[in-house]
Symmetry: C4
Subunit: 378 residues, 4 copies
């Protein structure tokens, strides 16, 4: 008889907890900066390239506070001269009709001149400018965006690998892309050691980790695909560290999707992330373009939409979301304060030291929390 | 002191997730065909031999789209000249009375002439015809069905083994059956390596995997018996592969029961299935005979009914269920599109390559999903 | 640093499932009899010594059907000439007051003459008579009961060990008891290998397994004590088998408490039980004395009641509970039919062969079931 | 490829159960006393230094019954001449406003003369007096409190380590503190073997175990930090035992936070605790100052409050909470009776013997309990 396959166990944010360190540090003396290529960001926090989360105005606001917003060059900002109308329509649609309204809205083609306009609007705000394209339209869009002043290029789809097989078109070769263009390239998303390793070998500056974890994403129900974020981050961080040992090059790992609270952010860094990318928390800010709603890149898919519009409401200023002060005790505000306080109790002076924090599986924490939330008791 | 028994852990669809591959493939270039005996089906999807799921009209419709419906030769179609009346009565019964109404409906004896008529109706539609019998009535029914043009014979009960002990009657000997009849035989259900191995040695063409997992089945509550589908499929797939190594014969493994979404289908193939058999999703189609209801083979049992009528409603055309497009983001529609997209991100060109996809245990995914469903938030 | 303790995992009915066998058997050819001392019972099912479950009338009814009811000699039947009044009062009490009403009802002293009367009433019915006493009143009550015709003596408390330490009184010595009296002695409850082994060495005929699992019991919340029934039964069955190997004596293991469905019964036998003892299912019968209510032995405790009155309603005749036929598909009726059908699919001709059935951990089965029950969808 | 990190599993009260012993003991013959420095307490139960739990009157009441209340010297009792007004305001605040009202209330500075007054009030009651300070104000407050008659000094914050790094001020050196002052010092909180070991080496008399487990605490959501109490207690108990082996000194381990029932208390001692500290259960007493409310030390934090006001209601006299009798069957009353009964069934004559009780993981116990609570069925 064949040996029975042992299935590996994987863990998400709600499955784990962090163990305090043997030394504690004054939170004010922790350093949370993040470097991507030559750009040093004060905060290790990125805003997702989702149309309900980032528009040029939001990108400038977040940039001035030390973070980095990624503009979606394949969304409503580059399809519509005046995207506010369509954003309004999506936010007002009934739950039954919203997916088809979103599907329809994204049938309008992308306009090249709008790509340049949006990039310039961000650069004019005096901040680092990042924008995302899909693998399929990278060759066309990337040069236009760089011409307009783009600082960091993000190439992203649900799952992106260094090798793509297709008979109908020639896939994007990342190693060629990285050689040809002048700005750092971030690629995603991936979740495994081997996929991350292959991507790093193409010369990218960073990569996004996360398939199927976000609130606005139903990839795991539709496709069955997805790895919980703590395990995905740990596996990819192992690849990053091995690649550093082999080559001397440090590639930035950004955990992307599924983060809701300060606790989730802290757990990402303890799992090995250099930065985190979030959608829902930013969609809740007064500065966000989504009018309290957001949805994912795969939602408009004509044949097989994954994810739907999530209504999160408008609950906080961006400034208070990041730095407080707050009266909320559920971890949803003062995210930077939470990270620094956590680093204090874990004895980590910077993000790299935070990677050494012990992570334990603590199932009970999760189930209880979820159940109480459900019962409206927490 | 005796060594304490270590209990083996088993997993179902909601316990696991799939890890994307290191290569991605254009979904349009994936091949999802399934071969049973000399019959090649375009789709690896079978409809369960349940009276709320398959009648001759449905069998023709599914066959024309590339799938295979199995007609129940021990159900209302062969007991009643006009089965629509009894199907109507079952669909209209109150929850309290429905089991006794079903018990009563199945006391009407099976008519041999109806067996031939139903088979012919399917063959006249120009599609491959499969039908199911119980082990006890195989000797009587199989010849009539084959005479009428049956292509594939399914012999099924809750649990079927190659060896059955009874003092009152001589059990069905599968090896004799396979030698005597001219069409491929599929037998089920089983869930363990050893039971699958013994069944394959009798010369069958395929077998059904699954005891106690379906929504319309309560075998696990009534008898305590059942193995979650991912583990059952993996164990039986190990038997199939060992049997292939020993004999050079490839026997088709069909995961049967408990599948609801595209994600469940993808997980079945990643666990080693060659095909999947489903009830509930087809019962929801406009083409299904059950008027939005379905129930299992063990429900009519006079003394110990297992399973009950499940009201699933009528929600989708068969065509959209299989191929989309859809606005649903919960995985319940465009099942073939989901499978092909999943194979794309897992880098599998065909079902056999899909068997190599990594499966991980991801408890959190499940509990969260269930809880949100419960709370009506998803 | 000390080695970290590895905590052993334990499992209950809802955590596990049974794997069908490689052989199947006609259910009618299975033997489910149970032997205690020289008494052979047709059914391996005992009714708990709880006042809402067993009175003399019920004991006769169950005995005639092949099972064995245990009368509580420390309860209302021996405290009150006419126990019906107090049973009525308990069944009618409001949830807030019921525990104090029960506490008060049990302050009435036990009358010795009623002990004899109740035993005789059962013997007059022509069935095997079993009755339970607490360790503290065994010396006083046992002779009276035996004098009146008792066949089997049960000595039970929440936790009973062969060694009890007390400065204020001399504990019951089981080895002396077994030597002095003429009837087989069953002792309980215990849950571990070592405690079971020590009890067996005193010469008892059988023992009860189960601490803290029952619906009417809150020992686990009040004291933190309890072992889930599947693990408790497996551990104690290992002790029974070792004791048999060492001494040639086979001591009967009865899993007591926490069983609700046919599936639970089947899982108990697969875990190694020779018999099962149940409260709630019998309390639901028309023949039960509790008027649809039941409560445990520790409920009347004046200072620290554990467990409370559970209202189960009156839902079924004893005959249908045991043998069907039934229209219920949730496993709560036709318990003997379920056991025989399960033994058929597991290929077990008798209870001893049933001990060899494979048990697997199947968490998903449980959570789903519980959640659907909660949601009222099942 | 790097070896994948194996994440350690950790367990909380609801994840585990206790196994009864092979010997049972008369509960009245168990000894539950606790020694801290030269003070011997009849009960191993402390009340948390929370403003809704302990005021001088409550401290005297609990002391007279054998327990030990810890007064918070950094809370409303030392900030306000008449703390009743502010306690009333907090208890009456709406859920939306309560955190900001608490934040505001704690901006009033601590008055040194009130420190002395409160200590004296407790000493005048004739009981052992314990009070807590934060690491930052220890140097200032400790001498005043000791001068006023303090018996035991508690120095506590969310996470306290022997080494604290700060550029802005010189941290508290515990070894210096222990040498300089005349009373035993208890420090907390910690959760790991190594942190506990470092703290013990400074000469402390005892330490508090628990980060993030309490009902009034949301450290795990805000910071992601926390270890379930059973695992935290076991790890720290291993450190205590190793330290005893190395030095001959026995340091008292007090499990602090997250305990609600008698079962939780019993599990703490089985995990290795010498004493337990509780908030919520005492906040529910008629003697508690919180008017049925309580909140944690980190709730008033101006920028990042963790925890919130929990409304527990007033449900029981302190006397009945500790010693019963009770009609409650959910483990929330007669806590000392539950502990003694549990020690009886576990065969432990004193707390030290209770450390040897076997603890098993029993997930089902927890989920069921939680789900039934949710459903309002328990």
């Amino acid at each position: 008889m064949r040996k029975r396959k042992e299935l590996r166990h994987t863990y998400g944010f709600d499955d784990v907890a962090l163990v305090p360190g043997d030394v504690t540090i004054n939170p004010e003396q922790t350093d949370v900066s993040l470097t991507i290529g030559e750009h040093k960001l004060e905060l290790p926090i990125l805003a997702s390239a989702m149309d309900g989360v980032v528009d040029p105005k939001f990108a400038v606001a977040l940039g001035k506070m030390g973070g980095l917003a990624v503009l979606n060059l394949d969304g409503v900002q580059t399809r519509y001269e005046n995207p506010d109308e369509v954003l309004q329509a999506i936010s007002e649609a009934s739950p039954e009709k919203v997916t088809s309204i979103i599907q329809q809205a994204y049938e309008e083609p992308v306009k090249e001149k709008l790509v340049g306009q949006r990039i310039k609007a961000i650069k004019d705000g005096g901040v680092v400018c990042a924008a995302s394209v899909t693998p399929a339209n990278t060759k066309k869009m990337a040069p236009i965006a760089i011409e307009a002043g783009l600082d960091i290029l993000v190439v992203a789809s649900t799952v992106t690998t260094a090798r793509h097989i297709s008979k109908s078109y020639r896939g994007l070769i990342f190693s060629e892309l990285c050689e040809q263009i002048s700005v750092p390239v971030i690629v995603g998303n991936c979740v495994s050691y081997s996929a991350a390793m292959e991507l790093m070998k193409t010369g990218i500056a960073g990569f996004l980790v996360g398939v199927g974890p976000g609130a606005a994403c139903t990839t795991r129900e539709v496709l069955g695909v997805g790895v919980p974020q703590v395990s995905a981050t740990m596996d990819c961080a192992a690849a990053r560290d091995d690649y550093l040992d082999e080559t001397g090059k440090y590639v930035t790992l950004i955990t992307d999707g599924g983060l809701r609270t300060g606790g989730d952010i802290c757990k990402s860094f303890a799992s090995g992330a250099d930065g985190v990318m979030m959608g829902s928390p930013f969609a809740r800010t007064a500065e966000g373009p989504g009018r309290g709603c957001h949805w994912g890149m795969a939602t408009p898919d004509k044949n097989l939409p994954r994810g739907t519009r999530i209504r999160v409401g408008i609950g906080v200023d961006l400034d208070h979301l990041l730095f407080g002060p707050t009266s909320m005790t559920d971890g949803t505000e003062n995210l930077v304060g939470a990270l620094k306080t956590c680093m204090g109790v874990c004895g980590a002076r910077n993000i790299k030291e935070m990677h050494n924090t012990e992570v334990v599986v603590a199932m009970s924490i999760k189930t209880e929390g979820k159940l109480w939330q459900l019962a409206g008791l927490h």
